[in-house]
């Protein structure tokens, strides 16, 4: 779609090479968006995905301010604007608070919170120029209720929740609606990281997480992508500053 998105609204999804971001990009494309997709690098998966979403692959590190500016400019130049931003990319590494390497601790905040803050800064002028837009910040149930050995991740995700509430109030009057989604346990690649941290197999990890969920189910990436699509779509027009929690009953509206 080098010729632009034609009459389709444009969405930008970060962290889209796999998992939730990948599913979200495909769902938004099915709902009629031209979807630009980002991840930290492109091993071919991003380009393949962009071909399926009628959008554009824009690889780059969300924590790198220069990359954020360049990516935003490229999407706007090639596709004609950004109507929906889905802030999904995340760095995640578990470790005890007192002994986790400080650089690793802060890297999670840099990507998840500060990086997406700068991306919002870059995207909002284009939404303003278009008279509105939607921003969906992917937070986490751990940002709502905390989790052992995940202080950096939880802090970054709780920060995103507060950012959604502040941006909701500040940008809502301009027609830019910001909301967050705080899922709990999703069946994605991330479970491998958690399993490694716990020293158990992937299937044991799945079972352990299922036991933490009142409904006994892990969310599919499609379940959470549907929440993004709802907030980005026509039906979400009265939501601002809210935190959707499709968590299987883990958080029950504590954010």
């Amino acid at each position: 779609m080098a010729g632009g998105a034609q009459d389709r609204p444009v969405a930008l999804v970060t962290g889209a090479a796999q998992g939730l971001g990948h599913a979200t990009a495909l769902r938004l494309a099915a709902d009629g968006f031209a979807v630009a997709v980002n991840d930290i690098s492109d091993d071919g998966r991003l380009a393949d995905l962009a071909a399926r979403t009628g959008g554009l692959a824009v690889a780059g590190d969300i924590a790198d301010p220069g990359a954020v500016t360049a990516m935003t400019a490229e999407v706007v130049a090639r596709l004609g604007g950004i109507a929906v931003l889905v802030a999904n990319a995340a760095a995640m590494e578990m470790g005890p608070f007192l002994t986790q390497n400080r650089a690793i601790w802060w890297r999670q905040v840099e990507v998840n919170l500060s990086g997406h803050f700068r991306l919002v800064q870059a995207v909002v002028p284009h939404m303003r120029a278009a008279g509105g837009g939607r921003i969906v910040l992917i937070a986490s149930g751990w940002g709502v209720i905390g989790h052992p050995n995940a202080t950096a991740y939880a802090a970054s995700k709780a920060g995103l929740i507060a950012l959604a509430k502040g941006l909701g109030r500040e940008l809502g009057p301009q027609g830019i609606l910001t909301n967050a989604i705080a899922p709990a346990y999703i069946d994605t690649e991330q479970l491998r990281v958690d399993a490694a941290d716990a020293g158990i197999t992937l299937e044991e990890m799945r079972e352990r997480y299922r036991e933490l969920v009142p409904t006994g189910q892990l969310a599919s990436t499609g379940d959470i992508a549907a929440a993004v699509a709802f907030l980005a779509g026509q039906g979400g027009s009265a939501f601002v500053g809210q935190v959707l929690q499709p968590s299987g009953g883990v958080t029950r509206t504590r954010a």
Partner: protein, 239 residues
């Protein structure tokens, strides 16, 4: 022809209380447009496939109406408890016993009766979604309408607990807590319609009934991971 009929499947069924006006009517209409069959329970006739006139405070009446709807339409896939009314501008000491009892009877009692009548059908089929309409006022409190706020708050506790009690089943119960919505429930001189109040909302306007209906529809169709949640299409009234 509806989407489900085109696919040759039996259309899903939605039962809506308070279906004759406002949020209930808009919700029933949205389900219908998307190919569902609808049963409406209201004191007045509703524009639904099966209009049943019944008072939600009448437990036995609601049980019969729900059984009739399930029998005629073939089960109940989604039930929406939207029946209610609103009174404002009454200070705490002036709320009469009758006003208090009536408000709790309709809003909390109506939701209790609807859940009690619908759940046996859903449990028997091991499937279904119940969505109760509460209010943003129940989340943040309000003044001079505290019988309404107390009743809507009680609905939150009821539905969250029922959701937890039924979490191990495939039945999902959730709440939609709209902001002030442009329906006949808000009188023309309501405080919530005044320009100085609306100016405090990030979106600067009342919520439209269709926005509440869209939230209910989303929960009923793609809300499998919501369990005891509150979704708030509220124009920013409570953040």
């Amino acid at each position: 022809m509806s989407e489900p009929e085109r696919r040759g499947a039996k259309p899903p069924v939605a039962l809506v209380t308070g279906a004759a006006s406002g949020i209930g009517a808009e919700t029933a209409a949205m389900f219908r447009r998307r190919g569902w069959r609808t049963a409406g329970i209201d004191l007045r006739p509703s524009d639904t496939d099966l209009s049943l006139r019944c008072d939600v405070t009448d437990a036995a009446g609601i049980r019969s109406a729900v059984d009739e709807a399930a029998g005629q339409l073939g089960g109940i896939d989604a039930a929406v408890s939207a029946a209610g009314y609103y009174e404002e501008g009454i200070e705490v000491c002036d709320i009469t016993r009758e006003q208090w009892d009536s408000m709790l009877g309709v809003i909390l009692g109506g939701t209790v009766n609807t859940c009690a009548a619908v759940l046996p059908h859903m449990i028997a089929r091991q499937s279904g979604a119940i969505i109760a309409i509460s209010s943003e006022l129940a989340l943040a409190g309000s003044a001079t309408d505290l019988h309404y706020v107390a009743a809507k708050g009680a609905v939150l506790g009821l539905v969250k607990s029922l959701a937890a009690e039924l979490a191990a089943t495939p039945i999902r119960l959730n709440i939609v807590a709209p902001g002030p919505t442009d329906t006949p429930l808000l009188a023309a001189d309501s405080l919530w319609r005044k320009a100085d109040y609306l100016a405090t909302l990030p979106l600067g306007r009342l919520v439209r009934p269709g926005e509440v209906a869209a939230t209910v529809y989303y929960l009923a169709t793609e809300g499998v991971m919501y369990c005891g949640e509150v979704l708030s299409p509220n124009a920013g009234a409570v953040i």
